[in-house]
Structures are given as C-alpha cells and as structure tokens.
Symmetry: C2
Subunit: 256 residues, 2 copies
Amino acid sequence: MKKLKILISNDDGITSPGIHELSNAMKEIGDVTVIAPATEQSAVGHKITMKIPLRISKFYKGEEFFGYAIDGTPADCIKIGIRNILKERPDIVISGINNGSNTAVNIVYSGTVSAAREASIMDVPSIAISVTNHAAQNFTYAGKVAQKLVKLVADNDLPLGTLLNVNVPDLPEEKIKGIKLTRQGRSKWDDIYEERTDPYGAKYYWLTGDLMKLDNDDEFDQFAIQNDFVSITPIHFDLTDFETYNAMKNWKLSDI
Amino acid sequence: MKKLKILISNDDGITSPGIHELSNAMKEIGDVTVIAPATEQSAVGHKITMKIPLRISKFYKGEEFFGYAIDGTPADCIKIGIRNILKERPDIVISGINNGSNTAVNIVYSGTVSAAREASIMDVPSIAISVTNHAAQNFTYAGKVAQKLVKLVADNDLPLGTLLNVNVPDLPEEKIKGIKLTRQGRSKWDDIYEERTDPYGAKYYWLTGDLMKLDNDDEFDQFAIQNDFVSITPIHFDLTDFETYNAMKNWKLSDI
C-alpha cells in the first residue's frame, strides 16, 4: 500500500508540544510534512492574510528539519502549503494537537479547526484534534486516536467538504470511557471584559468569562468530553440554515 | 411603537463610506449606535481578541459624534459593544455595508459576516449586508434594502442563532432585477501566491487568485448576484454535517 501523504498544521504555533506529538504519531503511518504558524494563532477564526504578504521559513529541532513556519494564520498555512510548498496534494490534513477543547461555539472561534476547514474547502479530507485543557498533559492517547481515525477516514467515505472535529479529555488512556459520535453543542461564553487602567491613566478592556455549559445530553460534543468520552463531530462549511430557508419562502420578500 | 435599538458594525472600519450610508438609512427607522473596528478588518473571519486588551475611542465626523472605534475585530466590536458599551441590548445588529460581495466560500472568510454571526451567538437578530464591488458606488439602494429587511425581521420570526446574509449588486435601483431567497453557493477561490523578492533578496508570497464561479442556478447566492438579483441567505453557526453524522453511525468508531 502506498504511504499516506499527511500534512500537519495547528494554531498554537510550530514550537508547541502538541504538534510535535502529532508529528511523531503520524510518522508511524505516513509521510509527514509540517506547515504551521510561526507564532501562536489561537482564536483567529478563519482569518486569511491578503493585505500583507507571507514568508516561509524552515524550522529545525536541533539539527533536524522539522517543518515550515509561516508568519500567518492556520488557514494561510494550508493554502500556501498546498499551493506552493508541497509537490503533491496531501491525502489528509491534521490540525493539532490543540491545547484546550474546541467544542460548541468554540468551533467558530478556533484556529485549529480553521486549518482543517481550509483543507476541506480545498477538497482534502481533514481532522482537527484537541485535548481539553490549556495546559494539556496527555497528548500520547490523542496521538493514538488520530492514527486510528486517519485509517478510518481512509477506509470510509468522508464527503469532500466535511472534516472531523475531535476532542479528547486530558486523561490517561485507562480513564477514557469510550468514543462518542457527536453534534456541535450549544454551550457558549458568558463574556466579561475586565476594565483596567494603564500606567498612563487610560482604560483598557480584557476579555475573560466562563463557558456556560448548556448541553445535557451526550449527543453533544461538550457534554461528551465533560463525561470523559472522546468526541468526534463531522462539520462542514455550508452555513445555510435550511429550516429557516424553507420558512422564509412565506416572508413577503417581494415587498423589498 | 417603540423605536428599534439598532447596533451597526462592519469590517471595513469606522471611516468607510458604507457604514456611514448604513447609519443614515437606519437613523430613519431607529435609534442607532455605531461600534466598529478602528481599522480595516477584511477577511479576518471570526477572529476574537483574547491575548491583548481592547481600547474604546470615540469617533467624530466633524464636530458630531458618530460612534465608537475599537482596536479589534468585527466580532470584538459586537461582544464589547453589547457587554460594555450599550446600556440596553439592541433589537437588531446590522453589519456593513461592505465593499465587495460575501457569497459562497467568502462567508467563511468574511469579517462583515462575523460581526452578524457574533450577534446571533448572543441571541440578537442580525443582518450582514454587502455590495458586490470592492469600489462599490451604489450604497443608497442597499441602505433601502436594509431598512425594509429590518422591518421584515421584526414582523417575522427569525430564529435565535440565525442571521441574514444579504448581497446587493453594485447597480442603480432601476437595474436590479428582484430579490432572491438563496442558499450558500459552492464557488471558491483558485488561489495563487505570487512569489516576489524584497529589496534584501528574500522571498515573499502574496495571495491573489480568481473566484471559480461554480454555481449555475439562482438558488445559489453567487449566481443570483451575477444575474443582478439581490440575494438573501439565512445562515447559522451549527456547523454539524448531519448527513455525515448519520452515515458515520456505520463507521467502526469502537475500533479506536
């Protein structure tokens, strides 16, 4: 069997531990290229860089070439990686392993997911994978999950335009209760902007807040990980709300 | 009838002509507050600012107070606007009028849409409105469309979590062929990164490319505007691909 060509990216940047763990896990099953942001790009959503140019630099781990660092966003890495760096199209793109979960509304804000989404826009199957803790300790099991899921994606038909968003509890393997196929949860943020005063007397505002855990059924991603299950959610980028589309056929749009 | 409380934002920044036209149109039907990015934020997707704080400044048009400028993204403007600036929650949020269409895959990249999406995440009805030309001339008709649509949204039930994404051809009103209820199109970019050399001999890469117009039916947003119709698409932020979700019930996820 031909070796899988695997492109890896993330949003925590090319120096983050999660991408090194993912690269090690993927090298056991395929030919790996890492193309990742030079600096942390959390919560950048699906930002792409248009008004300024990008630069590509080589990143070494000691003497050994590890991958390409791009001074842009996760979505930029996938675009320029597939268009200008890779000689052949990858068979699969994997983004992560992210520090911190990407469930519910966080899917909208996530840079990790945006790298995988950009791959799916470019018709490359993709996976986003996150561990549920901003100081995650247990990347090894998440790496194994990614390995097995890559094989499942290769064996099954993941439609073009769909990616798998995977969240893994930050626990050792023996404490994981199982795998759940899930849908995006409804949990969202109760935002607080802390008002502070700078040394010159001017006000500034810093975003913080709590995730309101609004999911109470393990069909939802957020509830599954709270209960120590791995959550796997297929997501796509057709944002049309078809239920409202049908309801709006009765609106008097001709009045406009 | 109580006057509508209307919050306006955009991604072209508080100095762009489109937001001033929109503000004028909305003042005829409600109480308007403008809270917009201090600088252009095109293609920022749904980026939010977390690692650095935000500042709020007042923006004047001559002697007259026009609105609040935020040194962040469109989504930041909505969050901090609703949480910290407005005394009461708005009845509706309108983002625009954007220079350039936000159809098909551009919905994913758009800052204009992200402001409206953030409002819908916060359970505020919202509209994103764009004119199809990066040097748009015909904002007046788009302003009228926004006025009428605000009334339709107030008269009908737009579900919480859904926003209307509106695209208006850059034509005088008499050349507009009508209004189409649409779904997100499939058109996407054939990206090109132009390789250039800086004055110091180093390479840099600049994103350009052409939109591949893959839609050939006026149920799709991109096709509707190409044919001189106003396009209105209901979109939401539940990204779950339910068709694949159902298909994946037959995948051997238990093998993981």
